[in-house]
Symmetry: C2
Subunit: 366 residues, 2 copies
């Protein structure tokens, strides 16, 4: 295990003090900020996430605000998802795709009104792509990073906790819709969303100065719910098939390879700059698959593990894998060639400790 | 001290195995890759850098390749530095500036020929800004990240070491010029440059597969020169006034505030998109300064430390500070308001352990 050197360049979040007080000691770096990897342990956090409620500092989902008469036009330039019918209270998961048809990010887009959007980023500086489009396209928009930091409330008791802190009405918010709450006089967006399959919300903290007060209010109100600090959980997100941009899918992949076909509205979308390229890549020769890897828990992964066929040829790569206590297997995400991606196909996974059998599944676990 | 969790998203470099074998255990994350913070200790590394020669894995200086008939036009859109007279063997330090006149990065640009440039990035994904310009501006260029990873050879014995490995002729290369060397049949760019004030070179490793062989060749040839693995050294780079993008200067600052006036050729530059904005910010009200902070060694910095005037008003912020064994003071970089930036001005630095006197200097140390 390596140490992470303190640096002003790795920006603190509005919740960093609380995260440290809650005992996080292992972090990754994401969008130039620290993101906790676990609190008690990945396994203990996982069990708690599935039974109670957690508060996650996901400020690393940095926001890009696009505002102005050309805001919709700019956002649509970046994504094959048809944004034209999006409503003011909607959240859209949008693959962002370049002119070669390759992924650059996969944020959740929030529509605040027809001329104002937030993009809640995965790990790449899409602020800069949007600024480049605005500058060279002479678009009538402002593009900037607002002082907005998401705080996720996740788990089966999330509804109860947000109702206590933000009012009973907020639990009527439907999945991937957002509402406005008021905290100490400040309006903020609350969306039913989050990077787990356990249900919950993301509060778009609007003003860093409210961060610790919001955190404290959630913990004060949720004591009997066993509310704890948490973070995206490696085990649970693989079970749920939540892809990690930069790990499972990268700049090298198309949205079709990523299995994001349903977010590619190539027949109706107008103004998306990667449309011609994507039209040619609709029929991918490799794609994301769920696999079970046999045996005892695999070691941590820090480089892609090859998948071999019976002749020893490389037919794919594992990008995420860990032991699932609930499913008693190594839940795994891989990019697999079409020739070997059918459910039930058995492959050999070259894992540093030893070779193991990996079986392609028809879908994820939860 | 926090742990850095292993992740496939934090990409390995062509030299990662060698870096780990050389004993690095503390890292930062920079452009989605790990960068060693020190090997023996910051102080021991510093002494060795100033007396011998070090090999640094600076693959984190990710490259953006811009190639095609509009390559010069695209690069010029991003920077106030006049690129029109750049020669094919030149390296230019270029502030990259948006349409609001704010910094986005400060890479070294390498001109390979009139239609082909590499940008050796600081810590932001400028690949995406360049792609945005190309896409919306319909420029006739390709923009991508090539498989090129810089390896720095730094220190007073760097000339001797590169002469032994790459031939006597390469030491004739002038400062911020580059030449082509051949390693095992592969041509690669070698520039006299690097993020220290001790002299040396940066090899633009062209092909990850050559990484360990190049590393090993340098260590085999330099044994009697006491060659060691190293990395950018916090103490030495502050003494030399080498600014860290993301720490000392950020998206919030103009190049004038960063003290980069000499790289802003606003009278002659043609096609730079931020020109109008920069024309209005030529007279900054705050600017980078070197300061000495009194007393024993300061603690590590992970957030800006305020600088106060005698009335207690905040008149600046410290971004980098550490103890210098050679100058026997805490060498410090800060952004200071014009009212208090004159050499000799005494300010109060609010450092977490206690308040200390900080004195503005006329320049950096080396």
């Amino acid at each position: 295990m390596f140490q992470l050197t303190p640096s002003i360049r790795l920006r603190r979040t509005p919740f960093s003090n609380r995260v440290e007080q809650a005992g996080a000691t292992a972090f990754t770096v994401y969008n130039h900020m620290r993101l906790a990897s676990f609190y008690e342990s990945p396994e203990a956090d996982y069990r708690h996430l599935k039974t109670a409620v957690q508060v996650w500092d996901v400020s690393v989902e940095r926001q890009v605000e696009v505002i102005g008469p050309d805001a919709l036009r700019l956002v649509q330039m970046t994504t094959p998802r048809d944004m034209s019918r999006m409503q003011d209270d909607q959240c859209y998961y949008i693959p962002m795709v370049d002119t070669d048809g390759k992924l650059m990010n996969d944020p959740v887009a929030i529509r605040l009104n027809q001329d104002r959007y937030w993009l809640s980023l995965a790990d790449s500086d899409m602020l800069l792509y949007c600024k480049g489009l605005a500058a060279a396209g002479k678009l009538d928009v402002e593009v900037f990073e607002p002082d907005v930091s998401p705080l996720a409330i996740q788990g089966p008791k999330a509804d109860e906790l947000v109702a206590r802190v933000f009012g009973e009405d907020v639990v009527k918010t439907r999945f991937f819709r957002h509402t406005t709450i008021n905290f100490e006089g400040q309006d903020m967006i609350l969306a039913r969303s989050g990077w787990s399959h356990q249900g919950g919300f993301e509060l778009y903290l609007d003003g860093s100065e409210y961060g610790e007060a919001v955190w404290d209010a959630l913990f004060a109100a949720g004591e009997d719910l066993d509310v704890r600090a948490g973070c995206p959980n490696l085990i649970e997100r693989i079970e749920a098939g939540l892809l990690s941009f930069g790990s499972d899918v990268t700049y090298a992949h198309t949205p079709f390879e990523a299995g994001l076909t349903k977010y590619c509205n190539l027949e109706t979308v107008q103004g998306f700059l990667g449309r011609d390229a994507l039209m040619k890549s609709k029929d991918p020769v490799r794609q994301i698959r769920a696999l079970s890897v046999e045996g005892d828990p695999v070691p941590p992964i820090n480089h892609p593990w090859p998948l071999l066929d019976t002749s020893g040829s490389v037919v794919g790569h594992i990008s995420s894998s860990t032991w699932s206590p609930d499913f008693e297997t190594n839940v795994t995400i891989a990019m697999v060639n079409r020739t070997h991606w059918d459910s039930g196909t058995k492959l050999t996974a070259k894992i540093p400790d030893r070779e193991r059998t990996a079986t392609v599944r028809s879908g994820f676990w939860i």
